[in-house]
Structure formats: structure tokens, C-alpha cells
């Protein structure tokens, strides 16, 4: 029983970690409809800058947690204005080519600046312990992540569903021209959403690094995970991403425990199953 409880906690913490990592790309792609394949790179850049601030400059974890997301968001903002904005008219293919190219450029910059080895960030002192729950040791940092992830999910959900800003964003996705015609500066809205998405990438980068570490090439792993969660959860909703993250987290954790040989396949099988049964994703809106 206690072993199952441990796996339950593992599944939960892994699922929430997935949500923290993938929430940024959900916002940008799921809500904005802009395909940013360099999103994983922004996450990894966040981890690296976090590493430099915490492990090299010796700043407290919390400082990095504040500073890095803002820095990443500003970098994302510049990318959006300078490079992505001209592609909105051109469609997804040019976005894919452009942002995938960017991902490669980032990849080389990472190896040049931080080397090719894996780097790991220490969690804050207070959380660098294990907590005993029902006879099982669970790292306190993971428990903290569960709380942070849930708070993030609630905040994002509230912004998207209950505020005027959220309404404008949702409307902008359905019909850009009409929203523009109603007197909303849609470019500005897009920029803001992109800013928020990059902020999430930076936040994910700092929060994820004590567990996952960071190394060049990781951006592609992050990207695949994000896309799987997106497909399972469906586009355009924070709730869907949250549910999908937890589902993928639980499925992966339990399949590793019961049938470790198949754990890789099962995650993708889940994705395929969702695609067959509900092509719009678990909570995605029906395709018109």
C-alpha cells in the first residue's frame, strides 16, 4: 500500500513538473496559435541562466526565480517583435522553419557558453531535505513543486477564463480581424501573450533544473514532452494542459512501476489513443 502511495505522489509531482514545463508552450501555441519550436530553448536558457546565478554567482534560489523569468520574457519579446511578427501572415510552415533554426542557433550558443556536460542546480537549502510520508522518503522540493504548479495552474486558468484580458485573448484566437475591428490592438495582445509564454518558459527552466538538470540537446526532449501534452490535452485551454500533464505523469509513473519495459511506448500509445478517440484532445473545443 505504501509503495502505491509513493507512486501516487511520484505521479503527481512528475505531472505537475510536466505542467510547469509545458504551460508556456500551451499558452503560445494553444492560445496564440503561434508555433514556437524555440520554446524548449527558452526553457533551457532559463535553466542555464538560473545555474549561473545560483551556482556560479552564489545568489539565493529565490532571486533567480524572480529574475530569470523576466529576463527570458524580455528575450522572448524581442524574438516576437523582430522575428516572429512578420511570419504571422505567412502561416505555420515559415514559423516552423524559423523557430527550428533558432533552436539550433541556441543549441550551439549553449555548448559554447556552458559546455556540453550536464549541470545541476541545488534546490534552496530549506527544501533540500526529504520528508517522511507513510514510511517513504519524498524530496521536499518535489512537494513544493506540486504546490507551486497548482497555484500556477489556478492563476492561469483564472486569467484566461475569468478576466477581460482572457476574453480578449480567446476572442483574438477565434477571429483576429473582428477583434481588431472592435478596436483592440491585436498585435499588442499577441505580444503580451508571447511575453507571458516566455515568462512561463523561464519559470519552468528555473523550477525544473534541480530535478532535471540542464544540458545542450535537452530543449528537444522538452519540446517533445510539451507537444505530447498539447496533443493529449487539446489546444486552447489551460485546464486541458493541466489534466493532460497529470495524466501523462501518472501513466508514465505507473507504467514504469508495473511494466518498465513498455513505459516509453505507453505514453505515446496514450497520445495515439486520444487522437483516435478524441482528435481535438481531452478538453479541446470541437473543430468547426
Amino acid at each position: 500500500m505504501s509503495a502505491l502511495l509513493l507512486q501516487l505522489m511520484n505521479g503527481l509531482s512528475y505531472g505537475v513538473l510536466l505542467f510547469i514545463i509545458t504551460s508556456g508552450i500551451t499558452i503560445v501555441f494553444g492560445i496564440l496559435g503561434v508555433l514556437n519550436l524555440a520554446h524548449g530553448s527558452l526553457y533551457v536558457l532559463g535553466s542555464y541562466i538560473g545555474y549561473s546565478l545560483i551556482m556560479e554567482a552564489g545568489l539565493p534560489f529565490w532571486v533567480a526565480l524572480m529574475a530569470v523569468p523576466i529576463l527570458i520574457a524580455i528575450i522572448g519579446l524581442v524574438l516576437e517583435i523582430v522575428m516572429l511578427r512578420p511570419t504571422y501572415k505567412l502561416g505555420h510552415l515559415s514559423q516552423v522553419l524559423l523557430t527550428f533554426g533558432l533552436a539550433y542557433i541556441f543549441h550551439d550558443i549553449f555548448s559554447m557558453m556552458w559546455g556540453k556536460n550536464i549541470l545541476v542546480v541545488n534546490p534552496p537549502e530549506a527544501l533540500n531535505v526529504s520528508v517522511e510520508i507513510a514510511g517513504n522518503a519524498i524530496p521536499a522540493y518535489r512537494l513544493a513543486l506540486i504546490v507551486i504548479g497548482i497555484v500556477m495552474a489556478v492563476l492561469l486558468w483564472y486569467t484566461q477564463e475569468k478576466t477581460k484580458w482572457g476574453a480578449v485573448i480567446r476572442a483574438g484566437l477565434s477571429d483576429k480581424e473582428m477583434v481588431g475591428g472592435l478596436g483592440v490592438n491585436i498585435h499588442f495582445v499577441f505580444t503580451c501573450v508571447f511575453f507571458l509564454g516566455s515568462l512561463m518558459a523561464g519559470l519552468g527552466g528555473v523550477l525544473g533544473s534541480p530535478i532535471l538538470g540542464v544540458f545542450p540537446g535537452m530543449e528537444f526532449q522538452i519540446l517533445i514532452l510539451s507537444l505530447v501534452v498539447l496533443v493529449v490535452g487539446g489546444l486552447g485551454s489551460v485546464t486541458g494542459t493541466f489534466i493532460a500533464s497529470l495524466l501523462v505523469g501518472f501513466v508514465e509513473t505507473f507504467s514504469r512501476y508495473f511494466v518498465p519495459e513498455l513505459s516509453l511506448i505507453i505514453t505515446f500509445a496514450l497520445m495515439a489513443l486520444v487522437l483516435v478517440a478524441r482528435p481535438q484532445g481531452l478538453t479541446g473545443r470541437r473543430v468547426a
Binding site: 509503495a3 509513493l6 507512486q7 511520484n10 505521479g11 512528475y14 513538473l17 501555441f29 496559435g33 508555433l35 516552423v96 539550433y104 543549441h107 550551439d108 555548448s111 556540453k116 556536460n117 550536464i118 545541476v120 541545488n122 526529504s130 517522511e132 522518503a137 519524498i138 524530496p139 522540493y141 484566437l173 477565434s174 530535478i211 532535471l212 538538470g213 545542450p216 540537446g217 528537444f220 526532449q221 519540446l223 517533445i224 507537444l227 505530447v228 498539447l230 496533443v231 489546444l235 508514465e252 509513473t253 514504469r256 512501476y257 518498465p260 519495459e261 513505459s263 516509453l264 505515446f268 497520445m271 487522437l275 482528435p279 481535438q280 484532445g281 479541446g284 473545443r285 473543430v287 468547426a288
Partner: protein, 405 residues
């Protein structure tokens, strides 16, 4: 609304595309590093180095090359009156790419000797080409058993190790010093399985019992559920084969989930390698691992090597740096014995087979039958010195010979 449908299908395409080529996706740069490309009237001896400088094995490739360059620099890139030229090509740890780069090295650069690679898959892929072209090939890292067994070639020698040597050496020792029931875990790829098999073979032969096995995928990021499986009552230890980022995450999570101090962890040297430990904090304390070279080896050869390496690169050598250094030394000795004439590949491989040196890892020579290296394996234990982890050699298993089948 029509966007949703298009977005969705693009998304699916991308997932498929990316998951198919996630490791191969990082294939942009090709590097040509010509070291001391002096033109001379007597032509230089060209050594081709097929080593990855991009992709997952990039840091291993870099360290191997550093080790080689260090040795040849000590000789001023001159052996037996001949200039030595190292031509490096990036394999990207991809068999297809490696084969293409090998052809470039043989056809365009006309190399005399080949060394590398890191990936066993690459070694197997280039094996036939090397064999049919009669190109002397000194394998300086890839440890797949078959290269010196079923896929053995007259022109292939291996100075690094075979997976069997790594796993087998720990088996008997673990039974005598750790306990009678052990859980085995390794990364799910050919090398991981080979090491685990060799360990199990030696451990059960000594009388030990395997409590269970689990093989998480390579590049796995969360070991919590696997650790939950291993955390059983009545087992005496866990044998683990992980390297690089896997080793960092596994060892850290082994500590965080409270197994450290409860179930001893043993494994291969990559679990606590010199370039891995700094990222593991104090978690690896107490781990015992088997490996053929360690930073702490107390021999004059190793001390000199470590000192020279730290002076040149301003960091500690890794296992791969030592491998690169040894491979360079073996080639240099062979060239010396031939007085600089490497034109006959048959003579060259024959000479390589007779090389016996005292390298930083101790005395090494080649098995004339299998062409695999015969070397000491060391049991190292990780302890804490001044707040940092350090390895210490606690036992030596002398002159381990791969059975060759």
C-alpha cells in the same frame, strides 16, 4: 476556428518527426580540426579521429581528443622523425554520418590509422568498411563486446575496454564484499544490457542471487518510480550502470528518495566519474564502482598524466581523457617500433598487437586472440574530502581478460 484543425495536424506531424529524430536532430555543425597541418617534404602520418563533437556524447568526444592531443603535444607532434597529424571528424554519434565521415577520411585525407569512436553502434557500422579497406583501427572507447568477439577483425584493436570487463569485474567482488542478493538496473541500450549481463553472470556464478532487474530508457529524467521498485526489504545492494546525465539524476534521486544509507549502491565507474561527480553534490558518497582508470590512481605514470592534463586544460581529466592519452601512446609506440614506416597495414597491426606499456591506468597489453585490451580493473569508493567527493581505489582486480565469446 478553422485554425484548430490545421494546428492540430501540424502538431501531430511534429511530434512524430521530433520523436523520430530527437537525438539525430542536432546535426548541424561539422567540425574540421586540423592540428599542426604543416606541409613537409616527408609526408606526415595521418591519424583519423572519428569522435563526436555534437550530440549526447559530445563531451566524451572532446575529452578523448584532449587526451590524444596532450600526448602528441608532449612529443611535439613528431614520432620517429615523422610529423603526426590528427584529422578529426564529427560522427555526431550517428552510424550513417560516421560511415560518410570515414569515407571522407580514407578517400580524401588518406589517413594511415583510424581511432575513435564513442558509440558502439558507430563502431559496428564502420567495422566492415575498415576491415575491407585494411585500415588499422584502434578503438579508443566504444566497448560493445562483439567488436572483439563475433565481429572481430584483423585490423581492429581495442585499447579501451569491453562491456564484459566492466560488469564482470564487479560480480565476484560484490558477492564477497556487498552481499548475497542484489538488484540490477541499467540504462536500456546495448551497452547497458551488456554490462548488466556480465555482472549477473559473474555474480550468480559466485553464488549471489539477483533480486530483480529494471532497465529505464536512456536519457530518462525521473527515476522515482524505478527507485520505488528497488526499495525492497532483504536486498543487500543495487548494481547500476548509468553514465552522463543519467548518472547524475539517478544518483541524486537515489539519495533524495532515502535509499542512500539503507541500500548500498555499486556500479560501473561512470556512475561516479570525474566529470559527473561535481554535479551530484554529496549524493555519491559511499558508492563503490569498478573501472579501469581513476583520477586517484597512485602511480607515477598517472600522477604525471594528471598534472600535465590539468596544466594544459585547467580541469581534471576524465576516464575518456585517459583513454585518448593511452590510444595516442600505443600508436606512438607502434610507429616508433616501425621506425616511422606505416605503409603496410598488416605490419602495423602486428606491431600494435605486441605493444605493452605502462599507461596512466597501469600495465596494459593486447590479447593476441581477441585484440581486446588486457588491463587491471579497480574498485573505487567515493568519499568526502573537504566537503567535496573524491574517489579512492580500494581494491585491484589484476589483468582482466575478455573471454572473447
Amino acid at each position: 476556428m478553422k485554425n484548430f484543425k490545421r494546428n492540430g495536424s501540424i502538431l501531430i506531424l511534429l511530434v512524430l518527426l521530433l520523436s523520430a529524430c530527437s537525438s539525430g536532430a542536432i546535426n548541424t555543425s561539422t567540425s574540421k580540426e586540423k592540428t599542426k597541418g604543416k606541409t613537409n617534404d616527408n609526408s606526415p602520418i595521418k591519424i583519423g579521429a572519428l569522435l563526436p563533437s555534437t550530440g549526447v556524447y559530445a563531451s566524451l568526444g572532446e575529452n578523448l581528443l584532449n587526451g590524444m592531443n596532450l600526448y602528441f603535444e608532449e612529443q611535439n607532434f613528431e614520432v620517429a622523425g615523422k610529423k603526426i597529424e590528427i584529422i578529426h571528424e564529427d560522427t555526431e554519434a550517428d552510424p550513417q554520418v560516421a560511415l560518410r565521415k570515414l569515407r571522407k577520411l580514407t578517400d580524401q585525407d588518406q589517413i594511415d590509422i583510424l581511432t575513435g569512436p564513442v558509440s558502439t553502434a558507430v563502431a559496428y557500422a564502420i567495422r566492415d568498411e575498415v576491415d575491407s579497406k585494411k585500415l588499422p583501427f584502434l578503438d579508443s572507447h566504444a566497448g560493445g563486446n562483439d567488436l572483439t568477439r563475433a565481429k572481430r577483425s584483423n585490423y581492429i584493436y581495442r585499447s579501451s575496454f569491453s562491456s564484459w570487463q566492466i560488469g564482470h569485474s564487479m560480480g565476484e567482488w560484490a558477492y564477497k564484499n556487498i552481499g548475497k542478493k542484489i538488484y540490477v538496473t541499467a540504462a536500456d541500450y546495448a551497452f547497458g544490457h551488456e554490462v548488466a549481463e556480465a555482472f549477473k553472470e559473474a555474480y550468480t556464478k559466485a553464488g549471489g542471487q539477483i533480486a530483480g532487474e529494471v532497465y529505464p530508457p536512456l536519457g530518462n529524467n525521473d527515476y522515482s518510480s524505478y527507485l520505488g521498485k528497488m526499495n525492497q526489504k532483504g536486498i543487500d545492494g543495487i548494481y547500476a550502470f548509468y553514465a552522463g546525465s543519467d548518472a547524475v539524476r539517478f544518483v541524486q534521486q537515489y539519495d533524495q528518495y532515502g535509499l542512500k544509507g539503507k541500500i548500498p549502491l555499486i556500479g560501473s565507474g561512470w556512475l561516479t566519474a570525474e566529470d559527473t561527480r561535481p554535479q551530484q553534490g554529496t549524493s555519491p558518497e559511499g558508492i563503490k564502482a569498478s573501472i579501469f582508470w581513476d583520477y586517484s590512481l597512485d602511480t607515477p605514470e598517472n600522477k604525471a598524466f594528471v598534472q600535465a592534463y590539468e596544466k594544459k586544460y585547467n580541469k581534471r581529466p576524465s576516464i575518456e581523457s585517459a583513454e585518448g592519452y593511452d590510444a595516442a601512446m600505443i600508436l606512438a609506440e607502434a610507429i616508433k617500433k616501425l621506425d616511422g614506416d606505416v605503409s603496410d597495414p598488416n605490419k602495423l597491426v602486428e606491431t600494435i598487437s605486441s605493444i605493452e606499456i605502462n599507461s596512466p591506468r597501469g600495465p596494459i597489453k593486447f590479447d593476441k586472440e581477441t585484440h581486446n585490451v588486457i588491463q587491471n580493473l579497480y574498485i573505487v569508493e567515493t568519499g568526502i574530502v573537504n566537503g567535496k567527493t573524491e574517489n579512492k581505489v580500494i581494491d585491484t582486480i589484476p589483468q582482466v581478460v575478455d573471454p572473447g565469446k
